[in-house]
């Protein structure tokens, strides 16, 4: 029964599809074309996620060859000590910046959407801060906010208003970072909203106008609902953006506890002089989980609207 069938059967059997010369060539071409990029992504994006989890279970000083296993101690320490403060700061920062960027961005887009002379120039101008170096922008605003020689302080004194201690106290420091963050990101929201506005059908607006709906009513009953996919997209991208913000905080308020967001704490614990590799990895893992949750919400709700293919 167990004859060596291969000798007789092999030449008759058709070769599997994946063994055809063209398929085989395609296989190698694919590896050559896409392989390096995929390898880089696996090594520098995927591996760190898993290695963070491993590091987060260690008491390990960055640069030290030895470390010992401490289980969940890093996480427990975070939640027992600074979690309340850091997560609250992150939440406040995110809510303020996202809310302000969206509301002001929408208002700006309504203006940009009107047929006005020079609004293409204005559109480019308000978008510009979004592409500028966070470090450069941060320095400019440090100069403006300087409590003694800053132009803002000089103007506040001229009109007899108190100058908040922007750099010394937690509250004003957070407010300052929020203002600059919104300044930098507002144009992005406005331009995205503008694209959304231009897809609101004009005949719908005309019909409402004929029916006697005033501008406010039209805005709240037609424009805003029609823009809800845009709002949702911006909500997610702006949340992700502010969760990751680093440049402004590092330049403007590097040591102020009022602006220590979760992301900034990841950096501070590892590279701010403490060299706490394991602890920082635990924070990075928490940050990653938050980013995944936000992104999953997006994928879950926008799947039907954003086409990846």
């Amino acid at each position: 029964m167990s004859q060596p069938a291969s000798h007789t059967a092999a030449p008759l059997r058709r070769r599997p599809l994946w063994l055809s010369p063209r398929r085989r060539r395609d296989f190698w071409v694919f590896l050559l074309f896409a392989g390096p990029n995929i390898a880089l992504i696996i090594v520098f994006c995927w591996r760190p996620v898993f290695q963070n989890i491993q590091y987060s279970l260690l008491n390990w000083t960055l640069g030290n060859p030895s470390a010992f296993f401490v289980g969940a101690a890093n996480y427990l320490e975070f939640f027992r000590t600074e979690a309340g403060h850091v997560l609250w700061t992150t939440l406040v920062f995110t809510v303020i910046t996202v809310g302000a960027s969206l509301v002001l961005g929408l208002m700006l887009s309504l203006v940009l959407n009107r047929r006005l002379i020079g609004n293409t120039v204005a559109r480019a101008a308000v978008f510009a801060p979004f592409v500028l170096s966070g470090v450069g922008v941060g320095l400019v605003w440090v100069f403006i906010f300087d409590p003694v020689v800053g132009v803002l302080s000089i103007i506040l004194r001229m009109v007899n208003l108190p100058v908040p201690p922007w750099f010394l106290q937690p509250g004003p420091a957070l407010a300052m970072i929020c203002i600059v963050f919104v300044w930098k990101n507002l144009g992005y929201c406005a331009v995205i909203y503008l694209a959304g506005l231009q897809s609101v059908p004009a005949d719908l607006m005309e019909a409402a106008q004929i029916d006697g709906a005033g501008p406010l009513r039209r805005f709240f009953r037609i424009t805003l609902p029609m823009l809800s996919p845009t709002t949702f997209f911006l909500l997610i991208t702006t949340i992700l953006n502010s969760l990751q913000s680093f440049d402004l905080i590092r330049i403007m308020t590097p040591t102020n506890p009022g602006t220590t967001t979760l992301m900034y704490d990841v950096y501070l614990q590892a590279f701010g002089g403490y060299n706490r590799g394991g602890y920082s990895a635990a924070l990075a893992t928490i940050l990653f989980v938050i980013l995944v949750i936000v992104t999953l919400v997006q994928v879950r709700f926008v799947e039907k609207k954003v086409h990846y293919a």
């Binding site: 203006v111 590092r250 590799g277």
Partner: protein
């Protein structure tokens, strides 16, 4: 009727009644409309533009001032004797020419490799047969979700272990894997008519020449978009270069500016800091001014369709 109506009627004496009232209503409406256009249109437009522009103008003015014009509690808007001293002083304190060179090297090499990788990966994903190809795209997409912020400690350990601290390759390598460009180009390639590539395949063109002779020439706007966004991101990149360099000789511009900021404690150094900000901001601003169409398109891609 209203006084405005009476006035207008008085002026246009010989008009038939119906036309007169119509014209009056129209001009009253257009008067209100003009006021609305100014208050609800031009005024906010100008205010928004000024809010963006003034800090940047203030930066340039600040860089041209002398320390004495900055260390004052009075408002000095224009420098009395515009001077480039701040730039020479900045160059003296941190080697600006060197920082600029480092940033340029990192940006040019990094962007070139990223663009090439994005092109070949997107082409392979769309046009080359491969088993389980559907499973590969998500691997790349997830990278969009893992920012440098999450991966600094493991990447630092790896690169530092390989001796990459204070080297160009150490700065460039971890950021090379590109999801953004691949994603954008893949979308563009999927929209191409397949006949063109089938014709090239029948002619016996290799994948390599199909990519560079057929696909690239007809997708140049998207490639330009990816290239520009990549260049801007590389130039502005801060966190990773900050972590992986500690010698002033190997720092990029944003990192070097941090050094300048830290070393300069007192307020008289603002002109020097503004000179630094000008050097890092103005090149991108110029690029943006001329090519903003591509940059905006790239950065807002995927939002509305």
């Amino acid at each position: 009727m209203s006084t405005l109506d009476d006035e207008l009627n008085g002026e246009r004496v010989r008009m038939p009644r119906r036309t007169r009232t119509a014209a009056a209503t129209r001009s009253r409406a257009s008067g209100r409309k003009a006021a609305g256009t100014i208050l609800g249109g031009y005024l906010p437009l100008i205010v928004a533009t000024l809010i963006v522009a003034l800090p940047l103008i203030w930066m340039v003015l600040g860089s041209l001032k002398s320390p004495g014009e900055v260390v004052t509690r009075d408002l000095v808007i224009f420098p009395h004797h515009p001077t480039l001293d701040a730039y020479t002083q900045a160059n003296h304190e941190v080697d600006f020419a060197r920082l600029f060179l480092n940033s340029t090297i990192v940006t040019v090499i990094g962007s070139a490799i990223k663009l090439l990788l994005a092109l070949t990966t997107a082409y392979a994903l769309v046009f080359v047969r491969f088993p389980f190809k559907q499973l590969i795209f998500p691997i790349i997409l997830v990278a969009l979700m893992v920012p440098a912020q999450v991966s600094i400690v493991p990447n630092y350990t790896l690169i530092a272990g390989l001796g990459g601290v204070n080297t160009y390759w150490g700065i460039i390598l971890p950021g090379l894997g590109t999801a953004f460009g691949t994603f954008l180009l893949r979308q563009q390639f999927l929209a191409l008519p397949t006949e063109i590539l089938e014709a090239a395949e029948v002619d016996g063109a290799s994948h390599f020449s199909r990519l560079f002779r057929v696909v690239v020439p007809i997708t140049t706007p998207t490639i330009a978009t990816v290239a520009l966004v990549t260049i801007v991101n590389e130039w502005n990149d801060y966190l990773w270069p900050l972590v992986i360099t500690n010698s002033a000789h190997m720092m990029t511009l944003p990192v070097g500016l941090t050094l300048l900021h830290n070393s300069e404690g007192d307020v008289s150094s603002y002109p020097v800091l503004m000179a630094g900000a000008v050097v890092v901001i103005i090149p991108v601003l110029i690029l943006f001014a001329f090519l903003q169409r591509y940059i905006v398109a790239g950065l807002t891609q995927g939002a509305v369709r």
